[in-house]
């Protein structure tokens, strides 16, 4: 999406009829940020600066909104988001091993993204599939019972391939 081509009136929709220009601009900030993130995958500073210029809102104002909501990220995110569950049930059944081997296989630490932006490795409290422990989710798809080296290799392979 090209930020300078963004039409405020078009984005705000019907409700814009009853709003002032400033309210309209402010009103589409979250929507615009969502679109930027859907395009780029995160909110780079340049894009936020461009949006700030386009909407004539200060950068701090936009950042104050973006930093409040959990779904906005300021660092690039990988194509695949791999989350290793470290909840009690999973930990007990060896999810730490899963995390370690993923860290080794992709040479990143938990919370980081690979250089080619193929994947982001994260940990999560409990995904609620304790019956399948240890659980790892790849883009919200659950891979459970990752016990043994063969399953682990399979997991790493499935993360690697597109």
């Amino acid at each position: 999406m090209q930020i300078e081509k963004m039409q405020v009136d078009e984005q705000i929709g019907e409700i814009g009829r009853i709003l002032t220009d400033q309210e309209k601009k402010k009103g589409i900030v979250i929507h615009a940020l969502q679109q930027i993130q859907a395009d780029i995958g995160y909110l780079p500073e340049d894009a936020v600066r461009e949006l700030s210029r386009h909407l004539n809102l200060s950068m701090s104002e936009i950042y104050s909104v973006a930093s409040f909501y959990k779904m906005f990220y300021f660092n690039p995110r990988g194509k695949k988001i791999v989350k290793v569950c470290l909840g009690t049930a999973c930990y007990v059944r060896g999810s730490k091993k899963v995390l370690d081997s993923l860290e080794n296989a992709f040479d990143i630490k938990s919370g980081e993204t690979t250089e080619d932006l193929a994947m982001t490795l994260e940990t999560v409290g409990c995904v609620g599939c304790c019956g399948l422990a240890p659980v790892t989710t790849i883009n919200d798809e659950v891979a459970g019972e990752i016990i043994g080296s063969r399953k682990l290799e399979g997991l790493i392979r499935s993360v690697r391939e597109d």
Binding site: K26, V65, M71, F72, T88, G148
Partner: protein, 896 residues
Amino acid sequence: MKKLTSIDDLIALRKQLSSEGVLAPNKKRIRVCCGTACRANKSLKLADKLYSEAKSNDTDVEIITTGCQGLCQLGPVMTIQPKGYFYHKVKPERAGDVISCTIKDEKPLWDLLFRRSIGEKPAYFIRDVPFYRKQQRIALRNNGRIDPTNILHYIATGGYRALEKALSTMTAQQVLEEVKKANLRGRGGAGFPAGVKWEHTRKAPDPVKLVIANGDEGDPGAFMDRSIMEGDPHSLLEGMLLCAYAIGAQQGIIYVRHEYPLAVKHLQIAIKQAEDSGLLGKNILGKGLDFRVQIKEGAGAFVCGEATALVASIEGERGFPNPRPPRLSEHGGGPWGYPANLNNIETYVCVPTIIEKGAGWFLKTGTATSPGTKVFALTGKVKNTGLVEVPMGMTLREIIFDIGGGIIGNKKFKAVQTGGPSGGCIPEQHLDLPIDFDSLAKVGSIMGSGGMVVMDEDNCIVDVAKFFLSFCQAESCGKCYPCRVGTYQMLQILEKITSGQGEEGDIERLETLGRYIKSSSLCGLGKSAPNPVLTTIKYFREEYEEHIRDKYCRAFVCQGLGQISLNTDICYQCKRCMDICPYEAIRESEEGLFYIDQVFCQRCKACFSVCPLGAIEIKEQPVLFIDKELCYFCRNCINICRVDAIKETSTGFMIDSTLCKRCGDCFKVCLMGAIKYEKEGKLLRKGIVAPLEVTVEKEEIIGEITIDEIRMDAEEKTCSVQKALTFLEEFIAGPMCGRCYPCSLGTEEAKIRLIRLSQHLDYATESDLQALKRIASFMIESSYCKKGRDTGRFLAEKIESAEEEFRLHISGICPKRECISSIEYVVNPDLCVACGACVKRCKYDAIKGEAAESAAGVLPFEIKQKVCVRCGECVNVCPTGAIEVISRIKEELINK
């Protein structure tokens, strides 16, 4: 689709639809649940398969992909018209059976019908399933019946009839009065009467007003609103339209959680369809009502479910709540200062039925103060989890035990948590409480949006309270201190209690803090955040006290309490605990016994649940102290302590009990015996005997031997007894599964009898042969699988074809000279050249003789029969064939 410009158009359309037979009850139709839960169980693939199967079979059947049908646990579920069969757990592979059997032949598929247990009769129809029997569906009336992406389905089932009635026969004031009379209370939590709210908004002087639907459903475990938005979006639009008509609003906003992409998609489709058909937009149905709806997506903040925070989020600000007044319904309260009416999704969905059937009809269900029904998301330790809608006033017991089917594993019920993280825990003594807004408030909980988490005796109540509080703490927006700092402090105290560091007075501190937070927080989230803790203290105080005083968690959930110890009297060192321990805390001592290194043990209890003998026990934590009278400061204990728990003070050494892991190392090294146990850890829970799990990884069996291969191996032998024996041995080692007795016991027995025959053991008699015949015939008759029958057949064949050979074995003769105990190896002196090859090869030193250049003048080789095991190696290496195999018995007989 044609635009509807008047009420008559809508009536005509509905008539036309009914004459076309849209959703007619006598047509063949499959309703496949495609709610989020069932989609996760491949219901979309199932629907696709059904389409293609129906097409290839040339069957006339309508397949509807509906919203959530409720019984999420047994998904994908489907109902099939005209008979009305209800199927659960339908895999995509069964699509063909459903089409051919149920649709074509109109017969039910027995294995897909719901059964409570194996022995019981199946429930054919949805009304027979206990989960649905007590439900009454008002808000979910169309969920599971119509295709949510098809407005015609909604109109055909009587949709927009309430709008039609309101616009043609009622004034705005009358609509408002009807909702007020129905005493419809807000389904989002607090239960404020919707009619009163509407009236406030109507009275606001502003010309511009808004209708907002709150679909920011953030409670963990709640999915009522999602199901409605996904499964019946037009009902929501109609409810909002009626509200707009009653209060004079022009613009509607649906605020949806970002995490609900399917709901957003279905709502967008519904809005587009309604606009195209003239049910949204300008001059709706020619009655001069202007109303448009748009969707606002949230961005992941729980607090945005609170009214003022939601307004801030709509305006594009940080989602901070604001003090009220002004209320949303007043001038300056709603988004951009316009008065707005905010209701929960479920509230709006109830409105069309109230208008259509009248307030009197609505008042008939539910209780006097809370009429109507309520949707609950039933989760936790109940057998049937899913979405239930019940009349208000139903007791918790009915919901949990009749609809939910009771507790999993028939454990003991402990508490039910209602209202999500802002609600409270209700104990067993209140199970017969009829649920409505007021009764729940009386016992300290709230209705909330309708989450219902059931807990059993394996749940630790302190841990549960900690979980809910940590959710609220993480989601606190941080605007006001009581909530931001208070929830953090409460969480720290709970953390302390659950990790075994609790102190006297902690419970009181929690209560005081909770009261402060409740009374002084700005928004509803903060005001209700301490609820789970406060109600659990109220009803389960003794459990908190146990955690603090006895360092004991009766559910054995909290990790910091108690001490895991290994009873070496029971342990037989199978190493299962060692393999499972994620912290490598189980070690082997110098004496070869196992012990648990307390420094590494995190009390996860993985070993406890895996020990097959019950050798792992949970004990109370012991307390160690240093007797200052005896201590002479040798520093041995300080040197050995791995956690630096022994401190040097001006008055001597002492053990810091907060650091001490109770490993007992210092106790062992103290030369003076100055370190003593103040309290020995007493046994809290005996070890449980865990079942041995046999995990067979199927992929690892490389190329299982088939019966044909075994037959080939067996046929290589020459002696019939050996053939049969080889066959059975390989069969037992390979393909035999052991499932049915004729095969598993029969083969073993036959093997024993054959060994007797082949080795000519003393007790081999005619009866063995008879037994073999009998076993063979039994196996042929009653084995479960072909493999077993084939084995029996092989045995029978061999006995039949060579019965005489078998009989000879009884008297110790193997005609083919293969059965080793019936034969002897002898050296034929005429042929032996005394090369010595056999002597070199024989591993058992059974051959006597000296190797020589030429055979002349040398004693012939001899085989010591007592040492010879008849391995046959010497026969193979002998260059002249001098070693002969003879039948022992026969020779003896001849000699006699």
